[in-house]
Symmetry: C2
């Protein structure tokens, strides 16, 4: 990075020129900081220092550490924002909405969210980063999305189910998952995710 400034304290937004260059510099600093420190211990302040900008400028561009993480890893949406939107839906619609949203985030073998999964599979640092990021989202959103006993665990199981599906669909590319359409998966999996959210008893055919 040749962008490191000379001199000492800087006012907010001091970095001149192209805002998209500033964004890119912040994102690169964030990726390195999250990779090295994990999600929990990474701070907006340290990322800003690394990018040689004021912390307020980072917040101006990205709003929160969570959104900065999502942007740094090219996730099309911050899962926290997504959970919040889904929690605003009528409860019976949430299962299908989770499946559809997840499949839109991980919609091809080159989806950036898959890079996070691949990295987590082989690098403990990446696994820790994902664990801290997603674990925080489960804890925050479980009370609304999956109320009742075991809610965070049920929400985590729903998430694990979606991870397994995209792992099978786009990494192992196993049939007959790989060729299933989004609508087919929403129809088959939506009720299961809904079940995890509701915590209701499942009827079986026996």
């Amino acid at each position: 990075m040749s962008a490191r400034s000379q001199g000492g304290r800087r006012p907010v937004g001091r970095r001149p020129g192209d805002p998209s260059q500033t964004r890119a510099t912040i994102l690169a600093a964030a990726r390195r900081q999250f990779a090295e420190r994990g999600y929990e211990r990474a701070t907006i302040r340290a990322i800003a220092a690394r990018a040689d900008v004021d912390p307020a400028l980072v917040l101006h561009h990205f709003g929160s550490k969570q959104r900065l993480f999502a942007a740094a890893h090219e996730l099309p949406v911050d899962p926290g924002d997504l959970f919040a939107r889904i929690a605003d839906l009528p409860p019976p619609e949430r299962g299908a909405a989770i499946v559809r949203s997840y499949l839109s985030i991980v919609s091809s073998p080159s989806s950036p969210a898959l890079s996070l999964l691949r990295a987590a599979a082989t690098h403990e640092d990446a696994a820790r980063m994902l664990r801290e990021f997603v674990g925080a989202a489960f804890l925050v959103h479980a009370p609304r999305l999956a109320p009742g006993p075991d809610g965070a665990r049920r929400l985590a199981l729903a998430g694990a189910h979606m991870v397994g599906i995209v792992f099978g669909r786009f990494i192992v590319e196993i049939e007959p998952l790989a060729s299933a359409t989004t609508d087919e998966l929403v129809e088959l999996v939506g009720p299961v995710v809904q079940h995890y959210l509701d915590g209701a008893a499942l009827g079986t055919s026996s």
Copy 2:
């Protein structure tokens, strides 16, 4: 390998000495062959040639290509044998049995089955090997385990769910999945796997 024999055709069981050494030689040859050719195109004959033993000796030791694959990758059981045992249970017991069996196969971060998942996440050859091996098992066992329309897809979804759970539990080590006991997971997930096997409608709380 210094074990390569000199000379031409050999009778069955010709390799002298320690049977466990013979087994190890066959397993090493199998691992290399599966990795290079995938599961479908690997043959007992080629693996035997690579180990410098007669194909009948490979079958004597391992019984089938499927079991040889399982042994070569240190899986404690061939999934085909496992599916067959589960299909012998009364239908309403199968969901819980699948969850419990899977969690006994992948019971710690060092379980060999996780090595296959990690490898598949980053190496297309390993992904193909897993795809062919597991895909074959889904197709063979779906008619008994998950009869009816979409049976193979429902069985694959149940399998993907289990993969997602062990991915979350032992690779990402995310809470509150990592600390869940086997019994807790059987109770929460067994009915969901059962639902996929049955293909029945799920009641929701709405």
